[in-house]
Point group: C2
Chain length 204, copies 2
Amino acid sequence: MNEIDETKAARHRDKMARRKAVQDAEVAQKTVEKGLLIVNTGPGKGKSTAAFGLALRMLGHGRRVGVVQFIKGAWHTGEKDALETFGDRVVWRTMGEGFTWETQDLARDVAAAERAWKEALALMADETIGLVILDELNIALRYDYLPIDDVAQALLARRPDLHCVVTGRNAKPQLLEAADLVTEMTLVKHHFAAGVKAQQGIEF
Amino acid sequence: MNEIDETKAARHRDKMARRKAVQDAEVAQKTVEKGLLIVNTGPGKGKSTAAFGLALRMLGHGRRVGVVQFIKGAWHTGEKDALETFGDRVVWRTMGEGFTWETQDLARDVAAAERAWKEALALMADETIGLVILDELNIALRYDYLPIDDVAQALLARRPDLHCVVTGRNAKPQLLEAADLVTEMTLVKHHFAAGVKAQQGIEF
């Protein structure tokens, strides 16, 4: 780093002081505490990964976490193994039977989604749990394996202190409407396009 | 779920069989294994959270992880506490002194960023570590606390088996060019706009 002259430092200080004032005023306006319905959607990476990062954060604060995998039964082995370190503070339910193009059996997919949703409702009712991750629920909804009306209604009727995260691309508009926080993961550049294969620790 | 008639099930099966064929062919083309430079940027939530989710995945596979926090020293307490469960398999370096609008001192910010970058280089050189998270490095680059040329060059020259994740909004074009995987987190809907405040387990 080169020498920083006094004028530049002073300008920086003023700019940051103004920014801090705006920031503080914004924070002061926010007073509501509530369990959030969070949706991570879009074609990019990081939808489920961010949900598991949130689980880590919750666990760090001593809370319990529930996970229901709606579709990709065979994935997330790394996260699952890591979360086992936290013992019974993480409840993990894998109901999906792999990607839907792996099973090629509609009736089986629907039955698996219905079982998963039942597990989800049970975890959402468990008052010792602070966060429930409904992993790839959007896929199950997109293929109409589950009725969106019932799902949206149950999520809106969740306990006031329960946070829920729904992941998967193509989130239904009705779910976005019910959500408090929606992030779209956008694909800017992907290593698969350069011939790099799925690797342990990155994709699974 | 209503009755599913046989025609619908057969159509579904055909569609999914075609999709699986495409999927399998795509997977077969990807043969390269390499440590990735991953950039999570954009104004939405989940940039750092997804990086910590990736840490969890790596840890689940028995790997070691390094974290350098460039800016928000006071945040990520939840993740930090949770990752302490993994003992010395996680190396955590907090060099930032809070948001830059908190310190209002350019010289101090630059010095902190330089110390953090030095720690980052040390972790990247440690062959026992499989993933290094450079949290909010984009912020340090944006304010020119660190020279982008040097940073991009060092990241491109990383060990072939090392994955690096850089987070923070406004990633510099030069970094995007060097990256293998870039995801932009887009803000679709945010609970702060509805007056909900930053909550334990969600924002920190």
